[in-house]
Structures are given as structure tokens and as C-alpha cells.
């Protein structure tokens, strides 16, 4: 059974480290795009025919991204081995395999986009898979946590305010919005699509989170995830506006401007955090939600 697994502090800490390094990797990847450095190293997997080229100009960002990516790949292999040795949950082992496959595919997409000169659909797939991989590492950290292994605190699903289906809406909308953002970044579509998507996705996030806060706040895990999701989404909206403003202001710049780079990279990284939080929230809903019941009005006040 899933819950028979005992808490392994080392594995949990390692999983948090993997998630943290993956977030750094997302930042490094976002920097490559924002610094226009994607093609600064024309060859792949070697860089200027070497394992370690001179780290100058755009090469610092592109090769730095490759190095961090290699490290994250190694860490994912360690996670896989560790999970296979100590974790008895079958689905957890499958998740670790999926994570490794995802990171390998991600590396191949990264290489392909360099060799094919950044076609938008490869670059955007690379950007989207990056966010999904980060969410996977966050899920692994969640699944290895003491709280998770301690078992759920079941709350019945209120038939008047169902949550199970709705909780999936946030990650699905966020993933779509992320892909639009990536497509804007790689110049496939105008920014208007991503901008129009923002209020819709924000509304969905608010709808789900507020339903939890209004009707399921008794459950600590659900409450925490809802508060976190609202917080990162608010940050994300502000960062998106700031990133767009800098883009307009520096439209004629001859090179990437630091303020534009900063806000855009923060927007990408916070996008990863938003998706991961929404996925964690959907997972926690599935874990903590019990049978659907008709609730008397008074029960909601608990």
C-alpha cells in the first residue's frame, strides 16, 4: 500500500534539492532566450567542439545552461536510483522513470532547437516541457515529504461546491497559458494572445482557490496550497505586466536591456512556480477529498 512507505529524510531533502536546481535551470534557460544567446554555440552536444568553451558573451548563458542541465540530468538519475532502492510505492518508481525520460527528452529538444536554428515549435515545446519537468520534481518532493507519508486528512466533497473536477482546471489553463507565453517569446504569435489569456487563467485560479478557502479551509494542506497559488499568481500577473512594459519601452534597443531581461526571466520562473503549485494543489485535492455528500449549511462554517 502507498502509505506503508516510511519517511526518508535524505531522499526528501535530495528531492527538494532537485526541485531547487530545476528552478535554477528554468532561470538559466529563460536567460538564454532573453539574452538572445540561443545560437551563440552553433554545435551541440559539444560547444565549439569542446566540453568547456571560453565563457564569454552569450556563450556564458548558453553553455552555462547546458552545464546546469547536465547536472540536473545527473541528479535525476540519482533520484531514480534512490527511489528504486528505498521507495516501495510502485507509482512512485514509475514517476521517477517518467522524470528521467522527461529530462532526457528535454535535453534532446534543447539540442534540436540549436541545430535547427530555434524553430518556434521546438523552442516552445522545450520551454513548456521545462515547466512540466519542474512540476514533476516538486511533486516528487511532495510525495517524499513527512506530511504526505503521514496520510491524508479526508474532507468530504461538498456536492454544492464540487472541487475534484474544478481543481484540474487551474493546471490545464496554466499550461495552455504557458505555451502561449513560450510561443510569444519565440515569435510565433503576437503578445496579445498571451495577454488575453492572462485574465481568463487568473479568473480560473481565483475561482478554484477561493472555492477551497470558502468551503474546504478546514483541511490545512488544501488551505495552504490555495493561499500559495493565489499569491504566486498575483506576483505572476504583476511580473507579466512589468515584462511587457519593458518590452515596449525597449522595442528599439540594439541589445537585450537588463530591466527587460530581469522581469522576463522572473516572469518565466514564477510561471514555473505557478504551474507547479496548481499541480500540487490538484494532487492534494485528490488525496484529501472524500465522498461527495450533501452538506447542511451549518457544516460549512466549521
Amino acid at each position: 500500500m502507498a502509505t506503508e512507505n516510511s519517511f526518508n529524510r535524505g531522499l526528501h531533502r535530495w528531492s527538494i534539492l532537485l526541485a531547487f536546481c530545476t528552478l535554477l535551470l528554468v532561470v538559466a534557460g529563460a536567460l538564454v532566450t532573453s539574452k538572445d544567446a540561443g545560437l551563440s554555440v552553433p554545435d551541440w552536444p559539444l560547444s565549439y567542439g569542446k566540453l568547456m568553451p571560453k565563457m564569454e558573451g552569450g556563450i556564458f548563458y548558453e553553455h552555462g545552461h547546458r552545464m546546469i542541465a547536465t547536472t540536473v540530468g545527473m541528479f535525476t538519475i540519482v533520484s531514480l536510483i534512490w527511489i528504486f532502492r528505498t521507495d516501495r510505492r510502485n507509482w512512485m518508481r514509475k514517476l521517477a522513470v517518467a522524470a528521467l525520460l522527461a529530462v532526457i527528452l528535454q535535453g534532446v529538444l534543447g539540442g534540436m532547437t540549436v541545430l535547427y536554428l530555434l524553430p518556434w515549435w521546438i523552442s516552445s515545446s522545450h520551454a513548456t516541457l521545462a515547466q512540466l519537468f519542474f512540476s514533476t520534481t516538486v511533486a516528487i518532493a511532495l510525495f517524499t515529504s513527512k506530511g504526505w507519508l503521514g496520510g491524508p486528512a479526508i474532507v468530504p466533497e461538498d456536492a454544492e461546491n464540487p472541487l475534484r473536477g474544478l481543481s484540474l482546471a487551474a493546471p490545464i489553463c496554466l499550461l495552455g497559458q504557458l505555451f502561449l507565453g513560450a510561443a510569444v517569446r519565440h515569435k510565433a504569435i503576437g503578445a496579445i494572445y498571451h495577454i488575453c489569456g492572462a485574465p481568463l487563467v487568473t479568473a480560473v485560479v481565483l475561482w478554484v482557490s477561493m472555492r477551497i478557502l470558502l468551503h474546504y479551509a478546514r483541511n490545512r494542506e488544501l488551505r495552504t496550497s490555495a493561499i500559495l497559488l493565489i499569491s504566486v499568481t498575483l506576483c505572476q500577473v504583476f511580473l507579466g505586466i512589468a515584462a511587457y512594459m519593458t518590452r515596449i519601452a525597449y522595442a528599439d534597443a540594439i541589445q537585450p536591456m537588463p530591466l527587460m531581461v530581469t522581469f522576463t526571466v522572473l516572469h518565466v520562473a514564477t510561471g514555473a512556480l505557478t504551474l507547479a503549485t496548481s499541480i500540487a494543489m490538484a494532487i492534494l485535492v485528490r488525496r484529501n477529498l472524500g465522498e461527495r455528500v450533501e452538506m447542511p449549511e451549518s457544516a460549512l462554517e466549521a
Binding site: P42, K54, E56, G58, I59, T70, V103, G111, L117, Q255
Partner: protein
């Protein structure tokens, strides 16, 4: 490097080298100009209004580039000469020549990376003429032809590398050549199917010599200010003049 290594086999053989283009223009007759009737089309590219101020390039991301500049380099997006003309405007005969195949000169056109700036800023070259790309710098550059009609490519050029030689098989008027190591580096390449093109210099004038008599559409292309067209008629052995004015 493990992850990078384990996919190298899967991807070996794929890359961005342009496929050899089929020679459709072989069917055209060879161009012939009678020197007795050829004339010259000349003119100036003028700029009116406030001179745009070009930003200084920030080369701090690669100090080896910065050290080569005596004074900080400025962008060359719109350069107005002291006499009120435009530098780096690409001028050509767009229409009016009889269909023919013009043999490119054997002499290559040079594009130099020097002080992490491309010289010249705008390059005119003929279809199938050799472009010789040189690196005078102590730093790595990548050279990315962002062409649309011609197959795009991206190559690396290390310090002291032999010049990289490249050809373009189709006419394509102004596409950027860029470097992602130094994102400010940008030159513009115009690939012409005939020899009647010019890039304006410090006096903003152009002169297209050896042109057969006829009525022609002359086109100017400026990377930022866009395209302009005008018509001229050239009498046998004569001269024709046409000026273009950009400005705000």
C-alpha cells in the same frame, strides 16, 4: 555531458547545413552588355528631419570586445552623414532588366568581424558569389545568416580561424547576419541576381555603371526606414539621376 552524449548518436547527421539548391536559372541566357550603349544611373539618398541619435553599444558582457574600441562604439541602425545623406542604404535595380543570367565575379566579398562589430554594416553580393567571413577578434563569434529565401545557417568562428566561405543561391534583398555571442552584432546582406546594386557610404551617393539603356525601377532598402522605389529612363550611352528622401 552524459545526457548530451547519449543523444549524440540519435542526432548525428542532422544539422543546419543548407541543402544544395537546384539550378533553375541555368535556363536563362547569359547576360551581355554592349559597352557602347551602356550608361550610368546615379543619385543620393537624403535624410530630412532630426538626426536620430544612435545608442552606444554596451560591450561589458565581453571585455575583450570592449578593449578593442578606442571610443565606445555606437549602433549603425540609421547613420546620417554630415552632408544630410544616409549611409548604409542598399540601392539596386529592382525591375527593367531583360531576364538573363549574370555571372558573379570570382572575387569574394569580405565581411569582417572586428572589435565585435561587422564591417561593412551592409553587404552587397551577387548570387553564387563567395562571401568570405573573417574573424579579426580574439574572441569566439557565431555567424547566423537569418535568411528566408536562402536556407538559414549558423556557424562558429574562433579567433584565427581560416575565413569561412559561403555562397547564396537565390536573390534575397537584405536579411540580417547576426551573432548571439554578442547580441548587438548585426549586418545586413543583400543578394542580387545581377551586378547593378550599391551600398551608400560617407557621401550618401550611389552609382550603378554599365547599365544597358532602358526604363528601370530603382529600389532603396534601409534596415530600419524601409523600402522606397522610383523609376528612371536611361538613354543609350547616357546618364540618369534619381534621388530618394527618407525622414520624419
Amino acid at each position: 555531458m552524459f545526457l548530451q552524449g547519449c543523444v549524440v548518436l540519435m542526432l548525428s547527421g542532422c544539422g543546419s547545413n543548407p541543402a544544395p539548391q537546384t539550378q533553375t536559372k541555368a535556363a536563362l541566357p547569359e547576360a551581355h552588355v554592349d559597352p557602347a550603349t551602356a550608361g550610368t544611373i546615379s543619385g543620393k539618398i537624403l535624410f530630412q528631419g532630426a538626426k536620430p541619435v544612435m545608442p552606444t553599444i554596451d560591450m561589458s558582457s565581453n571585455p575583450s570586445c570592449e578593449r578593442q574600441q578606442k571610443t565606445p562604439a555606437k549602433a549603425e541602425t540609421v547613420v546620417v552623414n554630415p552632408n544630410g545623406t544616409l549611409r548604409y542604404a542598399y540601392v539596386r535595380i529592382k525591375d527593367g532588366l531583360a531576364p538573363a543570367h549574370w555571372a558573379p565575379p570570382a572575387e569574394p566579398v569580405k565581411l569582417t568581424q572586428s572589435g565585435c562589430i561587422y564591417t561593412p554594416h551592409v553587404v552587397g553580393i551577387m548570387v553564387d558569389q563567395t562571401l568570405s567571413i573573417m574573424n579579426d577578434d580574439p574572441v569566439n563569434h557565431n555567424v547566423h545568416a537569418e535568411s528566408q529565401t536562402n536556407a538559414a545557417w549558423n556557424i562558429s568562428e574562433a579567433p584565427k580561424d581560416e575565413p569561412k566561405l559561403r555562397k547564396f543561391s537565390s536573390e534575397e534583398i537584405l536579411f540580417p547576419m547576426t551573432c548571439s555571442v554578442h547580441p548587438w552584432m548585426r549586418s545586413w546582406i543583400g543578394v542580387s541576381s545581377h551586378p547593378f546594386f550599391a551600398v551608400t557610404g560617407e557621401d550618401g551617393s550611389f552609382s550603378l555603371a554599365g547599365v544597358p539603356p532602358g526604363t528601370y525601377t530603382i529600389e532603396v532598402v534601409q534596415e530600419k526606414l524601409g523600402r522606397k522605389e522610383g523609376k528612371v529612363t536611361l538613354a543609350a550611352g547616357g546618364t540618369a539621376a534619381i534621388d530618394f528622401t527618407y525622414g520624419n
